[in-house]
Symmetry: none
Subunit: 260 residues, 2 copies
């Protein structure tokens, strides 16, 4: 990457630190409020917290790698000679993106057969999508970058199609109180995921190398916050509405409605 300005360096630096705080907060929220939902939805809450925990871990690594790759002294910035590690994001996505899809499937509480088949299919497609993106991300020429972008967009398109037609179709079988939120969670996922390929192509649009790098870092960071932490809050709200609709708390079917 080229030399960025001190202001650009600080923007990315502060965005990474902000994200560590967001992911940590989202993790604690999911783990503590897991007891506020009916047992059927607790695995979804566990996975939501695990996703933000894994992301938080990687943002600590990303932050440290960013800090180590530049030297800022007396208002002047230069490269330190230690390369910024791009792989952390992809390693993170390889784990978190399949889990994100599974938490969305789990909170819908489909039949066991549907839950297993959808989780396996969408999970594998998500892992394939991330694995195909990486060779493009580290490529130095635009041709290779476009090639792996195109390959990665194939599983991406199948997943979006599944979310749109497969999962949203199941919405009619969901309790009325939760339908709007579930539809919202699907849309949020489609919307935030669409952001990643846009960020991916930024360096291929003739933008200056340093500026493109800053835009990529900030872009991926915003997309990660929305698709992981904001989605986590939606998953929690869905689980609360569905717990109420299931009558677990109202009918007294659950002997210990809110044990921590």
């Amino acid at each position: 990457m080229g030399t960025i300005t001190v202001a650009q360096y600080a923007l990315v630096y502060n965005a990474f630190s902000f994200t560590i705080a967001v992911m940590g907060a989202a993790t604690i929220f999911s783990f503590l409020n897991r007891s506020q939902v009916a047992p059927a939805y607790r695995t979804a809450m566990t996975l939501t917290g695990i996703v933000t925990l894994i992301a938080g871990y990687h943002y600590v690594r990303i932050f440290n790698s960013w800090e180590a790759s530049f030297v800022v002294e007396a208002g002047v910035i230069r490269l330190s000679g230690i390369a910024f590690n791009d792989a952390y994001r992809y390693v993170d996505w390889l784990l978190t993106v399949p889990l994100l899809l599974i938490e969305l499937i789990l909170v819908m509480r489909l039949s066991r057969a549907e839950t297993v088949s959808k989780s396996v299919r969408l999970g594998l497609l998500a892992a394939l999508m991330v694995a195909l993106g990486y060779p493009g991300e580290i490529a130095t020429d635009h041709g290779t970058r476009w090639l792996f972008f195109a390959l990665s967009m194939i599983p991406f398109s199948v997943i979006v199609y599944e979310l749109f037609f497969g999962l949203r179709k199941s919405i009619s079988s969901q309790p009325v109180e939760a339908r709007g939120l579930i539809s919202g969670a699907c849309w949020l996922t489609i919307g935030s995921w669409s952001f990643y390929p846009v960020v991916f192509v930024l360096p291929m649009l003739g933008i200056d190398g340093a500026t493109a790098n800053v835009a990529v870092q900030v872009g991926y960071t915003i997309a990660d916050i929305v698709s992981k932490a904001v989605l986590g809050v939606l998953i929690y709200l869905i689980a609360v509405r569905k717990s109420e609709a299931d009558g677990a708390y109202v009918s007294g079917a659950m002997p210990t409605p809110a044990r921590a």
Copy 2:
């Protein structure tokens, strides 16, 4: 070890970081979702989480040792002079491999006498297997390496025999819903364990020292993820199916179905 390339260094580095995230995620999953299974299976869940926690701790140490043993600057890699510590893996296995076998025995919920005798016998054999492998791993000549490989393969073969004939024989006494998963867990253990001796002999097959070292690190890492974290998810699924089959949740036999 010889000098590896920057790409080989980064591959191992990222594989170790990935494993820290996987083991951490698996640990939290086991500890939180322990409340989703009947009390009879909670000790198996506790051990599953402890195994991945111990592994996660050792991968932090292994990661730091790997980072400290090389210097990468301006795209050039050299040995730092600080030796990479091979012992962490063996110390880890000495603890985790007996525990892995015990968690598999516990989730089967055999009679108390069988549980104790199998746990003691398989646990001691596993510890012996690991202890015999270590002198081979650190040996600099192939003769010593082959000798301890052969010695270590004796307890290894007994364990695989026990898993195959002893534990799998008990499957017929398991609830129908869980049989496929239990058989899968035994096969996963046999399959992933068979990977270790293959990785162990790689440096003796005339492969270049640096490449062999990278293959050993990545190979052991994949085997650890499968035999510990993936097995943990299977143990959880078995425990859920068996809890349902036991009727704990249906009959109300369990007073607090979802205690966290």
